[in-house]
Amino acid sequence: MKTLLWLQGLTCNGNTQSLLNAENPYIYEIFSKINLLYHPSLSIENNLNEIIDKILDKEIKLDFLIVEGAITKNKNFCKIGNYSISDLVNKLKDKAEYIIAVGNCAVHGNLPAVYRENKDICGLQFKFEEKKGLLPSDFKTKSGYPVINITGCPIHPAWFTQVLMALYYDRKISLDKFNRPKEIFMYLPHDGCTRNEYFEWKTEAEEFGHKEGCLFYNLGCRGPMTHAPCNKILWNRISSKTRAGMPCIGCTEFNFPVRENFFDTKKNMGIPEDIPLGVSKRAYIMISGVAKTLKNERVSKKLEDTE
């Protein structure tokens, strides 16, 4: 049986909580296939040190090392028994077939890395945008992959479980420039958003609380500039922020914790400073000009009043 060990650094546990929501496979289905060696919130025995010793003595083979939470060497800010989280990662890094960083904290450092008093907070292989994490930029695990990064604050459980299953079945996965699984992070929350028709016709929500209107132009939606399949693999398998009415806040990107004014679109002379990925500003302005001038009857009404 393949094995999995879950460690936590500086974290809110949100990725673990999110993982508990997993469907297809449910968490207990995963761990019927894969032997869960230890998870701080789920394990009945508290024997992490024993397990680590056995892995180091090669009594146990470690297939998946999962890290949730930001990394620091400073034991004053994060301690697991007598070790820091970076001690533990360093001990195990050459033993694991795969290392998977779950959540923006483990990948990029995220919010904890914004805290001034402890400067050495980072992700496993990145600190924000730069490859200046705990592990060297050219680090690879035994399997030949670098740390596989599942970003998100928090992760959607399926982003993790689908990748885990792919690796479990020895399939190859390709990674993007932040070492995120391409097949997950090649989508944008914009893809499949129920408000897309409004985006297309530049019908902008002026304020919150409406099913109608796109949240891009006034309310800060990052859907078209963020890598995540939130409107393809729905959250809690039922909805998503933008479907419900909340703008995407770009939680899967390295700059999530340093961006400000999440509910306000930054505009220069009325033109959004950041525009949808893949479009030039010139093209964006042209298309919006056309769409704005040519009205679509449907999107100018409350949905209940449409034909």
Binding site: M269, V290, T293
Partner: protein, 198 residues
């Protein structure tokens, strides 16, 4: 000369003449036969180029817009300061106005005063999109670089285009003492001061 280029050249000729007639006699008082006559071509032949007077009217706008748009695009792509861009923009505009006075006339006397003609497919900014887009890009970049004060797009837009249009209008009315280009520096300075940050 290849056929397509020849056709384009002819179209241009038609545009120049039509512009002049529309501006002089008014849009409604000018007919396709008038234009054909002035050009020395048959009415039937003219219809090979434009299916209707309305189509011709719209085409003139698209043509002028892309002419000016192209020029502003070149300025936008230059690696110079926002202030220098304004100065160049003013000069290019004046140059086009001097070289093609009939286009400006047309814009002021036909396009702006016969909006109903331009309703199907040319409403709002549709026919003059190139110019509008390039001006928007210019303004957005200015704010992003911290050179221009952030404000509503439309106030900024008319602050750029209004003075330019006004100046060539005065020129058309023969009110100006000097040549257009002699006003360029002063006008550029005015626009810059009106828009700059801080």
């Amino acid at each position: 000369m290849p056929k397509a280029i020849q056709k384009e050249k002819k179209k241009l000729e038609i545009v120049k003449v039509a512009c002049k007639l529309f501006a002089q006699q008014g849009y409604y008082n000018t007919t396709i036969p008038d234009i054909a006559k002035e050009l020395g071509m048959s009415v039937g032949n003219l219809y090979n180029y434009f299916k209707s007077k309305e189509e011709l009217a719209k085409y003139i706008m698209q043509y002028s817009s892309s002419l000016l748009g192209e020029e502003i695009k070149k300025i936008n792509e230059m690696n110079i300061s926002t202030k220098e861009k304004i100065s160049l923009l003013v000069r290019r505009f004046i140059k086009i106005a001097e070289e093609n006075p009939e286009l400006i006339d047309y814009f002021l006397r036909v396009f702006l005063s016969n909006r109903e003609v331009f309703s199907g497919g040319c409403e709002g900014f549709l026919c003059v999109q190139e110019v509008v887009t390039e001006i928007m890009l210019f303004l957005e970049e200015g704010v992003r670089k911290g050179d221009l004060r952030n404000q509503d797009l439309f106030t900024a837009f008319v602050t750029v285009m209004g003075p330019l249009g006004g100046l060539v209008f005065l020129k058309g009315e023969n009110m100006l003492m000097k040549t257009l280009i002699e006003y360029a520096d002063e006008l550029a300075e005015n626009i810059w001061r009106a828009l700059k940050a801080g």
